[in-house]
Symmetry: C2
Subunit: 138 residues, 2 copies
DNA sequence: ACGACCGTCCTATCGGTCTAGGACGGTAGG
DNA sequence: CCTACCGTCCTAGACCGATAGGACGGTCGT
């Protein structure tokens, strides 16, 4: 799972962790019933405080994507993939609309923006292969 | 000028003010030599602290878009429009690329995204008329 | 000269977030 | 049973940005 956390970003580390976990669930990297990394383990890997991971896991539980079992671990719920995908669809569309409006307002040519989309799709198809490998290996 | 500041946003109020002023300069709403709103006036209008406006004005001066004259006011520099346009072009393209990549990764159809661009362009052409009126009136 | 307005600076405080470190009880495998 | 690991909670502190309020000197029209 992608656990890179940028401490200089405007979006707080805990939210970056939430997004990373949701991405992993939506991508099928974490399936329902799978156990998430331990609080201390993920904290060490992402170089953040365990309390920050706790907060992220609590947010994920409130979203219904995961459930924590005391003393055992945090697990992906059956509804996890649906929740993660729905959230990502809504969020990314909203931010994309804002970004598109801002870019158009700044004077960017529509053709340049379309090219950026095509480029993003191309870059995605390359990375998609790796994700599939990781899943089949798990 | 658009001085709406969202206190709940992740981007700090001072940066929102910077963006709003740059937008106004890039749109021609504020021409070189024009005086920006007073620190206290803008603070009252945007419902923020005068110190927050001071910080925004200082950032704008560092960018080279404005210059403050002690006791008189803050004025748009000759290079202001160029600076503002260049900044907006670079910033909006970067955020657009990120948003596009995220949207594609989330599974959005390329056609949906293209439609969002077209829609943004349509919305812009409507608002552009007002901006032109305001400028010709000034 | 005077008064209103201006930008600037200063100190103190508050709120949110992350960090630090320790403690508790539950779970599970040997 | 016992040990290791787990999630959870707590207190305390640091940090950053915005807020609050006051003070200073410069500018400009009258």
């Amino acid at each position: 799972m992608n656990v890179r956390v940028d401490p200089h970003s405007l979006v707080p580390p805990s939210q970056q962790l939430v997004a990373a976990v949701l991405d992993a669930i939506a991508a099928g990297e974490l399936a329902p019933g799978d156990k998430l990394p331990s609080v201390r383990g993920l904290a060490g890997e992402a170089l953040v405080n365990p309390n920050t991971v706790i907060k992220a896991y609590r947010d994920l539980e409130h979203l219904g994507a995961t459930e924590g079992r005391n003393g055992s671990g945090v697990y992906v719920t059956a509804a996890g993939p649906d929740v993660a995908k729905a959230l990502r669809l809504a969020e990314t569309l909203a931010t994309f609309q804002q970004a598109a409006a801002a870019a158009v307002r700044a004077g960017h040519d529509e053709q340049v923006l379309r090219a950026a989309i095509t480029q993003a799709r191309g870059a995605r198809e390359l990375g998609q292969g790796e994700a599939g490998k990781q899943r089949s290996k798990a």
